[in-house]
Amino acid sequence: MLYWDPKADAVFRKNKEKEDHCTTEMPRPEGGGSIAFLCARFSRRDPDHSFQSPGAQTKREIGTIIRSLGCCPSEGELHDLIAEVEEEEPTGYIRFEKFLPVMTEVLLERRYRPIPEDILHRAFEVLDPAKRGFLSKEELIKYMTEVGERFSQEEMEEMLSAAIDPESNSIHYKDYITMMVVDEN
């Protein structure tokens, strides 16, 4: 008998929350003391990717690799690309010998070019028709998590942490873009 039954496990996982983020603050010690309080971000990650289909983790990593090489495929395009390189029988691994020629071609053809800064700026402006120069936190969340190739909760939080101006709770997108682009260089 296996240590646990993968099929039962799949049902078990389907019914459970996949991610459980929370920020925990540890209480200050009694009598004050010199410790600063600790914050911890917790996330319980069911390893749905790695146990059941080791392929899913590899797919995420391939996406990171391709993007770090300067290409910007959409999620859909990425999916197609991976289908091209993965094994017929999905072992979960992608062989370098298969990946290399495909990736070389992508680079030579200059496919999936990254978005120029001005296009990115215009995209923000489309979502801000009143031309205020900013988006509210709720508006950004709505667009990023409900429309298009939706963000996961973690992606949304990550983007907000850098983009948001804590005083006004809004995203001044022109400044944000400038900051990100400088950082990339």
Binding site: T24, C39, I115, L120, A123, V147
Partner: protein
């Protein structure tokens, strides 16, 4: 028509919004991937350097073996040194009643433990340590002696049973990071009969609260000996502690009784169990396995005979076959070098190797079993080895630690091997998450990740990445400067036209050749050198904004560089010789050691100015050298630093 136009306008509007959202999402994912890749690079750098240092540690232990093996020859040549080195310390016996004589003054306002210990003592310690108090040496020693007595009763492997209502929590390396232990106890609950724990080794070294972690863990163990399980890690080893900071921490926090504490710890380490087995299905050990791992043998050996995993058992006579009973072994201990009674006080070589494999091995994707060249000890084991060994003993899974993972845990070998690492921000604030696992029979393991920070909120990802990355690059540059002479030699060999330039390929090859860190040099080149518009590398540009501070201006750079490069090794050697922890060695001893060191490490350097160097630096002027001060004087200056000293740690 009214309706038609407005709905088509609406469609057009939402179509535009859709396109805009797609653009932003696409851009963000590209940007995020770049950040993650930079994090990966940084971690790879940290890890490579860490493992290279571990190799250096092994080299050092070879040096000590070399010294011991040449004992008789040394005796003839340098009897004074040898007498000092091999002075058998008579006060070897564990004076159990020693600690009773220590006085705890009324003015001490730290925690006072009450024996027999109860769970309130665990709380007491936690609260005290949160306020950065230090536990008095009296209580430390009391805890240590009680812990040792209890550990001696434990078998090499503890067998545990879980049930659906009694999950067990498994934690990995803590490495002196007290905040992480606080968080685990806070979030997951204090240990108790219904909340058992396994701590899978490497409690100490690198972080600055190794002592406090040990105290909390040992007290927890004393209160719940059947529910708090401790496994030995490769850092539960006094020789590792000398290089990686724990010895320094103890001597600094306990100026009067530190030496005694270290002595007792040395013994306690050897009594720590090798591993735990859960439900006869999960093997929990610190490092990994090899193709020859023999669990039955490991259950049987006398684990306490393994003093340091870096000191293989060697008979003093080497190849000479003498009567078995009269062979005398020699070992190095925290007290210096001394002769053992007989060989029966050591493990056999085979047994020793079995334990090394358990504590040092790493899993890899490649099939088979290979020597672990990264660390210099244990092996790399592939998925086939895992299957073979797990099947051999009818086990289902291996849970281990030993390697830092960005997410705090990692699963490999088709789900049969899990790595769990519990020290978040191990290399640098933001470098990685920590994790722990909850396990019970019949259900899949549950993973809990965290990242501790003392700020009120996490800094945005890109800022954290910048910090991690710049620290990694800094460490790498310091590595480069410590081998500047060798690097320039190899660069110039390839630069036949003496242009000062090399192709990227040539430069990368040279870097790997000399530094041997197995890093992606081409990707890192933009951080390390300047490239001209033709894509060629100006190889001297790495050395422009960084240099090793010369304690004495007139002394040659190559000598300075050599001392800087070997400063960690030298510090350990000096520590071992300085058995009474005075911090001083005589000029004579220094010269003899340097001579031996040079010959064993095959260091070719003009050291005619060595005397001048030490004399000019020695402020004592009494013929003895404060070696800690001496070695601290060799450090790297980064030209564009705000601080004047880099925070290079010397052991």
């Amino acid at each position: 028509m009214g309706c038609g136009t407005s709905s088509s306008m609406k469609d057009k509007k939402s179509e535009k919004a859709l396109k805009a959202a797609l653009v932003i999402q696409n851009w963000y994912r590209g940007h995020s991937a770049q950040l993650k890749t930079r994090q990966r690079y940084a971690l790879t750098i940290f890890q490579s350097i860490e493992y290279a240092d571990e190799q250096g540690q092994l080299e050092l232990s070879n040096f000590f073996s070399f010294m011991l093996e040449n004992y008789t020859r040394l005796l003839e040549e340098d009897s004074e040194l040898v007498t000092h080195l091999f002075d058998s310390n008579i006060q070897d016996k564990d004076r159990q009643d020693y600690w009773v004589l220590i006085d705890v003054p009324d003015s001490y306002c730290g925690p006072r433990l009450q024996f027999p210990l109860t769970f309130t003592d665990i709380d007491l310690l936690i609260e005290a340590f949160k306020q950065q108090q230090i536990l008095h040496a009296y209580y430390v020693l009391e805890v240590l002696f009680e812990t040792k007595k209890l550990l001696q009763q434990m078998p090499n492997f503890t067998h545990i049973k879980t049930s659906p209502s009694k999950e067990i929590t498994i934690c990995g390396d803590l490495h002196g990071k007290l905040d992480d232990l606080f968080l685990i106890y806070y979030k997951n609950g204090l240990p108790s009969v219904s909340n058992p724990y396994v701590f899978n080794g490497d409690f100490v070294d690198r972080g600055k609260n190794s002592m406090e972690i040990l105290m909390i863990l040992f007290v927890s163990f004393l209160v719940y000996p059947n529910d708090l399980h401790l496994n030995r890690g490769n850092h539960e080893d006094f020789m590792m502690n000398m290089r990686y900071g724990f010895t320094n921490e103890v001597l600094h926090k306990y100026k009067l009784h530190g030496k005694k504490i270290l002595q007792v710890l040395e013994d306690i380490y050897t009594w720590l169990p090798i591993g735990t087995i859960i439900d006869n299905e999960i093997l929990v050990i610190h490092g990994g396995i090899s193709e020859s791992t023999d669990l039955n043998l490991l259950h049987r050996i006398e684990r306490n005979k393994l003093k340091s995993v870096l000191m293989p058992p060697i008979p003093i006579d080497g190849d000479h076959a003498t009567e078995k009973g009269n062979k005398v072994g020699t070992t190095i201990t925290a007290r210096g070098i001394r002769t053992n009674g007989s060989l029966s006080e050591q493990l056999t070589k085979h047994e020793w190797e079995q334990v090394i494999d358990i504590l040092w091995s790493d899993p890899r994707g490649k099939r088979g079993c290979y020597p672990n060249t990264g660390r210099g000890g244990g092996c790399y084991f592939g998925p086939d080895i895992t299957s073979k060994i797990l099947n051999k003993y009818q086990l289902k899974m291996l849970i281990r630690s030993h390697e830092c993972k960005p997410e705090g845990y990692e699963i490999c070998h088709d789900g049969k091997v899990i790595t769990v690492f519990s020290a978040s921000n191990y290399y640098e604030e933001g470098s990685n998450r920590g994790a722990y696992i909850r396990v019970s029979s019949g259900t899949p393991p549950r993973f809990f990740q965290y990242q501790v920070t003392r700020a009120t909120c996490l800094r945005p990802l890109y800022q954290r990445m910048n910090a991690v990355e710049s620290r990694a690059i800094r460490m790498l540059k310091e590595r480069m400067i410590s081998q500047k002479t060798d690097l320039i030699r190899v660069f110039q060999l390839q630069d036949s036209s003496k242009s000062g330039k090399l192709s990227v390929g040539q430069w990368a090859f040279s870097m790997e050749n000399i530094l041997g860190l197995n890093l992606p040099w081409r990707s890192l080149s933009s951080h390390l050198v300047t490239t001209d518009k033709d894509g060629n590398i100006d190889y001297m540009s790495s050395f422009q904004d960084i240099h090793i501070q010369k304690p004495v201006k007139e002394v040659q750079s190559t000598l300075i560089e050599t001392v800087y490069r070997y400063r960690s090794d030298l510090q350990i050697i000096f520590n071992v010789i300085d058995s009474n922890h005075s911090g001083l060695i005589s000029m004579e001893e220094f010269r003899s050691i340097w001579k031996l060191f040079k010959s064993h490490y095959r260091v070719c350097v003009d050291d005619s100015q060595l005397d001048e160097l030490t004399e000019r630096m020695d402020l004592n002027k009494d013929g003895s050298i404060d070696f800690n001060e001496f070695l601290k004087a060799f450090y790297v200056v980064h030209k564009f630093d705000k601080l004047s000293k880099s925070d290079t740690k010397v052991a």
